[in-house]
Symmetry: D2
Subunit: 80 residues, 4 copies
Amino acid sequence: MGMPMELNTMIVTKGNEERVGENEFALKKSGYRLYPLDIPIDIRTTKEGESRGRAIIKKIEWSKETTFLTYEFISLNSTN
Amino acid sequence: MGMPMELNTMIVTKGNEERVGENEFALKKSGYRLYPLDIPIDIRTTKEGESRGRAIIKKIEWSKETTFLTYEFISLNSTN
Amino acid sequence: MGMPMELNTMIVTKGNEERVGENEFALKKSGYRLYPLDIPIDIRTTKEGESRGRAIIKKIEWSKETTFLTYEFISLNSTN
Amino acid sequence: MGMPMELNTMIVTKGNEERVGENEFALKKSGYRLYPLDIPIDIRTTKEGESRGRAIIKKIEWSKETTFLTYEFISLNSTN
C-alpha cells in the first residue's frame, strides 16, 4: 500500500517536448512525478547537460502511471 | 519560493462530484492537493461525516491553483 | 535527477514498532515515505490485514533512504 | 482533513543556518516543507538573492509544524 512517485526540481526534456503554443510545450514522463507549478524552474535536455533556461509549469496531469506536463519557456537565464 | 499544497488521504466530495461514467466521477477542489492514485481510499461527503465507501482515483490534474480528480467508486465497504 | 518516494495513507507496522512511551511508538521503514502528520490515520499490522485502529504521526524523519516515524496510538475505532 | 505542506526546490537560509560540522549545517523552517534529499540543490540567503552554490540535504525532520534540515554545502558553482 503506497503510491510510488518521484520528487523533481527541474524539467529534463530528453528532446521529447512538443510545442503547443508560442512558448508553451507539452511533455510526457513515465511514472508519477511531482514538480512545483507556477514557479520558475531549471530546464535541461539531459540531466547532466547544461541548463537551457527557465520554465514555469502550468499544468500537471497524473494518470495511468504517466505524468503529462504543460510548461511555458520563460528565460534563457538560469540564475533568476 | 515554494509551492503550497495539501496532502490528502481521503476524498471529501461536499456533494460537488459530477457523474461522468457508470461508476466514474469528476470532482474539483481548490488548491493543489496530493492524493494517492490507483489505491482504494475512503470517500466521504463531509470530513466529519461517515465513510460512504471506497474509491480509486484514476486521474489528478493540477492547474491554476485547482485540483481536478477523476475517481471510480468501487465499494460501499470502508474496511477493505 | 529526482528523488523516489512513496505516498502512504496508513501505517503498516509489520510488527516492527517499538514502544517509546505510554501510547507512543517508533517505526522504521525503508525508503522515503510521505505520510500525513497530526491527522488520525489507519494503522494495520499488514496491508491486507484488518485495521488495528487509528494513530497520529507526531514526527517523520528522512535520512539515508530510510523513514523514521513516531506515532501515537489513539483509538481502536477505525471509523473516526 | 489534509496536511498543508510546501514543495521546495532550493534552500533559502535567511542567515538562520547553524554550522554543525565542517561543511554541514542545520536549518529550521516553519511548516512542513518537502525538499529532495541526496540531490544537489541551489542554496540562497534570500529567495530573490543570488545563488550561493549547491548543497545536498542529508536529513529532513518534520515535527510540530516545523521542518528541520541538515545539509552539506558542496559547491560554489550553481550550474552543476
